[in-house]
């Protein structure tokens, strides 16, 4: 019966060596983690109401994604009584070539809605999704009076187009950025 123990021990030894050798390489050489998608950059492009000339670009930039280095967020400075065109450009600059996320949002327009919140400024969404509901990549922005405050940009993501209504609570927030706002 000693042979049983002997067999077991040799099995143990044999297994440990074989297992060690076959896993070794992969553990030592981890592949870089490549997140499937990131929104590293949000540009708010302000131009005249016709959209013919760019006046200013206000940006949120966080190239390494959540965590790590903190994002850089610009403040928005606008004139009271002027109507601006506000266009959004969303990028993934961690990829090469850079991905245009706003293009992908436009393709899935019926799943998305941009919501803009500010006590100082009013935003009117011009563009619509495939069902004729507002989307928010293209807007008009104006402020009636001078003041200091904030401008919040939120991108809501709906599981199905049916859930996309003005008062729907069943969404997930993809983007939520508070920009500083000064109205002169």
């Amino acid at each position: 019966m000693k042979s049983i123990s002997n067999i077991a021990l040799s099995v143990i030894t044999a297994f440990s060596f074989t297992m060690t050798s076959c896993q070794k390489d992969e553990t030592d050489n981890p592949a870089p983690v490549n997140p499937s998608e990131l929104i590293t950059t949000v540009h708010l492009i302000l131009s005249d109401s016709a959209g013919s000339s760019v006046i200013d670009t206000v940006s949120f930039i966080d190239i390494d994604g959540p965590g790590g280095a903190s994002p850089v967020i610009d403040s928005m400075i606008i004139q009271s009584g002027v109507t601006y065109q506000l266009r959004l450009l969303l990028l993934d600059e961690s990829k090469n070539p850079v991905l245009d996320i706003s293009e992908e949002i436009a393709e899935e327009s019926d799943f998305h809605l941009f919501v803009f919140t500010s006590a100082q400024a009013q935003t009117t969404t011009i563009d619509t999704d495939v069902n004729g509901n507002p989307l928010g990549l293209l807007n008009l922005l104006s402020a009636p009076a001078a003041g200091l405050g904030s401008y919040r940009v939120q991108l809501r993501h709906f599981d199905t187009p049916a859930l996309k209504t003005a008062n729907s609570q069943d969404y997930e927030t993809d983007i939520e950025i508070d920009f500083g706002l000064r109205v002169n």
């Binding site: 123990s5 021990l9 030592d28 981890p30 983690v33 998608e37 959540p66 965590g67 949002i105």
Partner: protein, 792 residues
């Protein structure tokens, strides 16, 4: 205990009244009897007639049983003056039966060898050293049958002191004395279960239907098993392979109304008889469930699918044996889709408006977010009984654990080749090898010594970084000594020393960075056991243990969807050092059983996810940030398990536990500690002589209090209110030529109570499950080979 806690429970008056009435009514039943006699039986081996410790004696017609001590003596108390039938069982011997009346004299019984298998040597070979001084609780075959269809963790929570940490309805892990995850060690068929057990939303990858017994060893005293188990050790022991020639099979069927869940589990086993000494078993389980219903709505994507199987082959000879065991566990678990959020304001909106984001539809479909987990385990073991020395055993284990986590659908279009890939993929390869020597009692001393080795590789895949690759080596030695000091006092002392080397590999923008760590982990433990009489045991235990940090405590770095927190590890964290002292009393009389324990645990440099000052700012808003940090922590608590067979018909049981945890460094409460709870049950054996089903009715009330030990402002939502759940079960047994067919119908959450549990990580998003009807059927199928088939 419930009087103590009732002051902060809203239903307290009604509740106390109910229990006073129940206890009082049972007392009147009990007053009719006056049985105070005792009976002692000495069990010995054939031949020289050596004392046989560890034999199981059952008093037929009652629930009483006793185990022979090291002098081979087993005692029964509280007997009436009448004739009793006693069955004596011991592995490798023929079952003996005797008729006795209680009396002063010790009755001697000499067992007969089981001639069919000639397995006398198993007196040493098959025996597990009884654990002397730790707090040990087992869930045996009967309770396992009652709990078929529940997950491993839910079954374990029947032990006082064990609670459940959940992520929704399908993912649950055991919490012992307020500690969980990497601080609770699970032994699956004798092998340390190595999954990604550090994750609070990672459940143990074990099919509870493989178990013949579940044992919970609480407290730092588990030197035999490893150095990490500050909370305790859970042993999942498969049933022993059969010893009687013939084919045995068993079929388990469970249906649950909530989630429309079905479970089918089958087992077939055979002992090939004397010529081969070989036995084998195959077992498999299929489980499928759909969306869970709260008292109000169906929760989207809360289904579950599992397919598990295991097989074993054993060889047994006179002095030794061997066994090969393999198990495969495969589970897919839906995570409630309304709990996956993109930003902190989503969570705040859900809480402040009391939203449950669900479509209120039933479906078996499991979409993302979901977990797909598989675990393969191979165990090869052999043992050999050396005459006059003891038993030596060797065991090799190989495990492969794979975890896929799929996040809720991707917000933007994704390349086709990545669309079906999990966001998180972790592959863990573990090998263990152990050699143990247990000596026979030599002049009152019993020794156990052993060496254990572990080699582990963790490989990361997927698109969302969580923990890096690593390779871990661990070598441990342990020595345990037990000695009987006086007739009624026993002492145990143990030491374990582990050495651990761990290399961590990270890819930092194309460059592989290697970090090496080394740990020395000494553990010590000592205990005293005092038996003033044969039914009472007092225990005192003290110990100290060290635990090395787990990979997430060093390197996790990422966002937790569901809890809306950003977690950051700290690679400079060192080991934890725990000190514990515990005491307890166990009374085991026929009509009355008590198991009560008190413990205190102090952990220096307790690694703890603590709130950081600065939130992490991301494109989807600011998230509260949590850092892994070392603090000094203290845990103290009490467990109580009381049962009383008030009469032949009525039995009462009360189980409760409370743990208080304090963060000494920051002078505040530790988060996510289970609230005090107590459960009472009454079993009533119905008089039903006609159908001969022996029906039994069980009514139980579970009371969980509000966790008021909470520092305001440290959670998005204060701990939920306490709750009371009512459960009912009716069970019966029908004798058949194949064996006993057992069936039961139970109703959980009978009153369809709306409640939330503090230990559920998804408590922000929905209520717990509503009423659930469960039907269980167990059909044994035995094809016993007639004894005359085997020549003697």
């Amino acid at each position: 205990m419930h009087f103590l806690f009732s002051s902060y429970h809203h239903n307290s008056m009604r509740y106390i009244l109910l229990w006073v009435i129940l206890y009082a009514s049972c007392m009147s039943v009990n007053a009719q009897q006056n049985c105070t006699l005792s009976l002692s039986i000495r069990v010995s081996e054939p031949g020289a007639g050596e004392a046989l410790p560890g034999a199981v004696l059952l008093l037929e017609g009652t629930a009483m049983q006793s185990v022979s001590d090291s002098d081979g003596i087993a005692r029964f108390h509280g007997l009436c003056d009448s004739t009793y039938s006693i069955v004596i069982r011991y592995l490798g011997f023929r079952e003996s039966r005797l008729e006795v009346r209680p009396g002063e004299a010790i009755v001697s019984v000499r067992l007969k060898s089981d001639a069919r298998a000639l397995r006398a040597a198993e007196v040493v070979a098959g025996k597990v050293t009884p654990v002397a001084v730790e707090s040990v609780d087992s869930i045996g075959a009967a309770e396992l049958v009652q709990s078929r269809g529940e997950g491993l963790t839910q079954i374990l929570s029947r032990v006082a002191g064990v609670t459940v940490m959940q992520t929704g309805n399908n993912v649950a892990k055991p919490v012992i004395h307020g500690l969980h995850s990497q601080r609770v060690l699970i032994l699956n068929a004798g092998i340390r279960q190595e999954g990604q057990q550090w994750g609070t939303e990672h459940a143990p990858e074990i099919d509870p239907l493989i178990a013949g017994r579940l044992t919970v060893i609480r407290g730092v005293s588990s030197l035999r098993y490893g150095s990490d188990a500050l909370g305790g050790v859970i042993l999942v022991e498969p049933r022993e392979l059969p010893h009687d020639p013939g084919i045995h099979a068993e079929l388990n069927l469970v249906g649950q109304s909530n989630g429309r869940q079905g479970l089918v589990s089958g087992m077939v086993e055979q002992h090939l008889g004397r010529l081969y000494d070989i036995c084998w078993r195959l077992q498999g389980t299929l489980r499928q469930g759909g969306n869970i219903h709260t008292p109000d709505v169906y929760l989207d994507n809360t289904g579950v699918r599992e397919h598990n199987w295991s097989g074993s082959v054993g060889l047994e000879r006179k002095r030794g044996g061997g066994e090969v065991y393999f198990s495969s566990f495969n589970g897919t678990y839906g995570i409630f889709s309304g709990s996956h959020i993109g930003s902190l304001s989503d969570l705040q909106r859900i809480i402040s408006e009391g939203l449950t984001l669900t479509s209120d539809r039933f479906s078996y479909r499991i979409e993302a977010p979901r977990q797909e987990v598989s675990h393969r385990l191979l165990s090869v073991r052999s043992w050999y009984a050396m005459p006059n020395i003891g038993k030596v055993s060797a065991r090799y284990g190989y495990q492969f654990n794979r975890r896929f986590e799929f996040d809720r659908d991707k917000p933007f279009s994704v390349p086709a080749d990545q669309a079906e890939k999990p966001e998180l993929e972790l592959n863990l390869y573990t090998q263990t090898a152990d050699v143990t020597l247990e000596t026979r009692s030599i002049k009152g001393f019993m020794l156990e010594t052993g060496v254990s080795l572990m080699l582990q590789d963790n490989q990361y895949g997927g698109q969302r970084y969580f923990v890096p690759n690593y390779r871990l080596w661990n070598a441990g030695v342990h020595l345990l000594v037990r000695r009987r000091l006086t007739r009624s006092m026993e002492a145990e002392a143990g030491v374990r020393y582990d050495m651990r080397e761990q290399s961590v590999f990270r890819n930092a923008s194309g460059v592989v960075v290697q970090d090496d760590y080394e740990f020395q982990l000494p553990n010590y433990s000592a205990g005293l056991l005092y038996r003033p009489d044969s039914t009472t045991t007092l225990r005192l235990h003290a110990g100290t243990a060290k635990r090395a940090p787990s990979i997430n405590e060093w390197f996790s770095n990422g966002l937790h969807h569901g809890t809306a927190t950003y977690e950051t590890g700290d690679p400079s964290l060192g080991t934890e050092r725990a000190w514990t002292i515990s005491t307890g009393v166990r009374i085991n009389r026929s009509e009355f059983k008590l198991d009560a324990g008190l413990y205190y645990l102090h952990v220096s440099d307790y690694i703890y996810l603590s709130p950081a000052n600065e939130p992490v700012l991301t494109v989807s808003g600011a998230f509260p940030s949590f850092d892994y940090r070392s603090v000094d922590a203290a845990f103290k608590g009490a467990d109580l398990d009381l049962s009383w067979q008030a009469s032949g018909r009525v039995g009462i049981r009360s189980r409760g536990s409370a743990v208080f945890a304090w963060n000494e460094s920051d002078s505040r409460y530790l988060e996510l500690i289970p609230a005090p709870r107590i459960e009472h049950s009454v079993v009533y054996a119905l008089a039903d002589t006609r159908s001969r089903l022996d029906p039994e009715l069980t009514l139980s009330v579970r009371n969980v209090f509000r966790q008021w030990r909470y520092t305001p402002g440290t959670d998005y939502m204060p701990p939920p209110a306490g709750y009371t759940l009512l459960n009912m079960e009716i069970a019966g047994t029908r004798k058949s030529p194949m064996g006993d067919i057992r069936f039961s119908l139970s109703v959980n959450n009978l009153l369809n109570t709306r409640y939330r549990e503090y230990m559920n990580l998804l408590r922000y998003y929905s209520d717990e499950a509503g009423r659930n009807f469960v039907l269980r059927i167990l059909v044994p199928l035995s094809f016993q080979t007639a004894p005359h088939d085997h020549p003697h």
